[in-house]
């Protein structure tokens, strides 16, 4: 065994390119799978404050067709009520406005851009956003359209240089809002729980085209994820009922399988289309497969070229008494060692990436700011040994499979011809 290692080590030093490509290919594949998985996992796995990701649904919008045209838009709150209110299985129905970037300042006139999300009182029950001080705004505040706000801790400090800002005034697009509470920062990993500032949700003014068109995004938490199909069925029935009436006026609502689960919502990329989770999942599998196949192909061709350079070595070993099985075993072990080395390197890269992802990349890309977001997702949320194990396992199996054929061929070479290097 020691000799295997020293021979591999010797080759690494003397054929660095070939060897590093073989090892690096595996490392890269493991790394890419981990990255993809991490990015995926970060968006879907239930974790505080979005503990309800698996049973959360979004009524994304409305697709309304007339005789002479169509509107695709967010819903009005009338529309939300007609489609989703009192649907069996929905525990909480929250009326929200999609987050917008606005100028936020304090008395001291510091003005920065922050993400401001309009929410109602139910929203605070849906998500486990933790209050450092103060409290959320009430149903009354929402009803009366009070100018009150909840602000994330780090943003409060930015504005006031102070943690205790309850009762103080912030200015959103120059309008004064009274701070009722300060919450722990929510990472932008959380599609619906994240914001810098939360204000009472703004009710729609009636729309000239249709009572369904408005500015509301309804968020729902179901009693359990098992009732998802139930809720979908009921909403579909409501579409049909509404369309019967709308048909008399010559218009109709196009049903796109709303409300969406989180996966459907993210998969749709902000479009109001029929979700297609199957093709999305297939797509992910294709990518995984390609990522794992590439290093296998790479190793297979590297193995072939390594073997070609070592035919006479194979012949000599055979002359000295190596059986075909010895030769096959030698190259399998060599590739095993390289695959393991690649896997270890891939794991290290992945760990490093996860750390960086938590602290740097993601906040940058999502918050549009360079600062670190406190309270980002925990390491265990985005790193997962099982996935790593699976990726490493498949890499190993594929690499071994791709070694077997060239190594087997090499082991069948006629020793006399191999020694003299006479072969094709």
């Amino acid at each position: 065994m020691r000799r295997y290692f020293s021979q591999i080590w010797y080759e690494m030093r003397h054929q660095p390119l070939v060897m590093w490509i073989s090892v690096g290919g595996t490392a890269l594949a493991i790394f890419m799978v981990m990255v993809l998985f991490t990015v995926d996992r970060v968006s879907f796995v239930p974790a505080p404050p979005e503990d309800n990701r698996d049973r959360m649904m979004v009524g994304f919008g409305v697709d309304l067709h007339f005789e002479n045209g169509s509107i695709s838009s967010l819903l009005s709150d009338t529309g939300v009520k007609k489609l989703y209110s009192k649907v069996k299985g929905i525990k909480y129905l929250s009326f929200t406005n999609a987050p917008e970037t606005k100028d936020v300042g304090s008395d001291g006139r510091i003005v920065t851009e922050m993400s401001v999300r309009g929410v109602d009182d139910v929203y605070w029950k849906m998500f486990g956003i933790r209050f450092q001080s103060g409290h959320p705004f009430t149903a009354g505040d929402v009803e009366s359209g009070s100018r009150v706000a909840v602000i994330a801790m780090s943003r409060a400090r930015e504005l006031f240089n102070d943690d205790e800002v309850r009762g103080r005034t912030i200015y959103i697009n120059q309008l004064p809002y009274r701070v009722t509470g300060v919450v722990e920062d929510v990472s932008p990993f959380f599609t619906f729980a994240h914001s810098d500032v939360w204000v009472p949700y703004r009710k729609d003014t009636p729309n000239e085209y249709s009572e369904f068109v408005g500015n509301t995004t309804p968020l729902m938490e179901l009693e359990s994820k098992e009732v998802i199909p139930l809720v979908k069925r009921e909403v579909k029935a409501r579409y049909e009922r509404l369309n019967k009436k709308l048909g008399e006026e010559g218009s109709s609502l196009i049903y796109h399988q709303e409300p969406f689960t989180l996966a459907e919502y993210i998969g749709n990329n902000g479009n109001n289309n029929d979700p297609d989770p199957d093709s999305a999942r297939m797509g992910t599998w294709y990518i995984y497969a390609v990522l794992l196949l590439l290093p296998a192909m790479n190793i297979s061709s590297m193995t072939r070229s390594r073997l070609r350079r070592r035919v006479s070595e194979i012949g000599v070993r055979r002359a000295l008494g190596a059986t075909r099985r010895d030769i096959l075993g030698q190259f399998l072990v060599e590739n095993l060692v390289m695959t393991v080395a690649g896997t270890v390197a891939g794991v290290l890269f992945s760990l490093l990436f996860c750390k960086l992802y938590i602290t740097t990349f993601f906040p940058m890309e999502n918050a549009g700011t360079w600062q670190l977001i406190k309270g980002g997702p925990s390491f265990s949320l985005i790193f997962n040994w099982e996935t790593l194990g699976m990726a490493a396992f498949f890499c190993l199996v594929l690499n071994i499979l791709s070694t077997i054929l060239p190594a087997w061929k090499a082991s069948r070479e006629n020793p006399a011809e191999a020694i003299s290097g006479k072969h094709d």
Binding site: Q7, R317, R318, A322, R324, I419, S420
Partner: protein, 224 residues
């Protein structure tokens, strides 16, 4: 006893276009402890003969008996084991494995032999390298020692498994005359002191004249 016995041996290399008769009706016996040299012009089939005796290739026709037993029905793994136990090879271009150091190169035949412990392997490698005066170069790689030293290491590797037959294909072909003489002296010692049977291919009349018997080949036929 006949250590090597060839009867009616023929070797034909067939490719799609051409057929090369490398050996034709070769009948040859070599006795225990004999030192035989094989001579002949290039392409007359000397290496082919050694490959057949060394079980590295199969004859097209005829039989090869070694150490009194037939090799005709042997399986590939059986041939491997036979080579490992009974035959030591010395090549013109040494054929040391460049990625293994001297000690690891010499150890190869013992690694492919069942039942040799690591400790015994180390002991025998050290012993044989001491005998050939190469023990101070154990950790060197082949690229770090001279050609003459490489051939010494190759001879050490050929005898570490204590084979009764040594097949040497132009063992001095790549060496200058002084180093060639050293290698020849070594082979004679292995023949005389250990009683090993040696078949050596050479182009050197003088070397051949010092062996027990010279066999001449021409165009695949044995002429003397």
């Amino acid at each position: 006893m006949d250590v090597i016995k060839l009867e009616g041996v023929e070797k034909i290399y067939r490719t799609k276009e051409i057929e090369t008769v490398a050996l034709e009706n070769v009948n040859l016996t070599v006795e225990e402890g004999e030192f035989v040299s094989v001579m002949g012009p290039s392409g007359c089939g000397k290496s082919t003969l050694l490959n057949l005796i060394g079980l590295l290739d199969n004859p097209t026709k005829g039989t090869v008996d070694l150490l009194g037993s037939s090799t005709a029905g042997m399986k590939d793994s059986g041939m491997s084991e036979f080579r490992n136990r009974n035959i030591g090879f010395v090549f013109q271009s040494f054929h040391l494995i460049p990625s293994l150091n001297v000690a690891d190169n010499v150890a190869l035949p013992l690694i492919y032999r069942a039942g040799v412990s690591a400790a015994e392997c180390d002991r025998r490698v050290r012993e044989v390298l001491e005998r050939l005066g190469m023990s101070h170069r154990m950790k060197h790689f082949p690229s770090q020692i001279s050609g003459g030293q490489c051939q010494r290491v190759a001879i050490a590797r050929a005898i570490v498994g204590d084979p009764r037959i040594i097949l040497a294909d132009e063992p001095t072909g790549n060496l200058d005359s002084r180093m060639g003489a050293e290698v020849m002296a070594l082979l004679h010692e292995l023949n005389r002191a250990d009683g090993r049977t040696i078949v050596m291919v050479t182009h050197n009349e003088e070397q051949a004249s010092k062996t027990d018997r010279v066999i001449h080949f021409l165009d695949g036929r044995q002429i003397i």
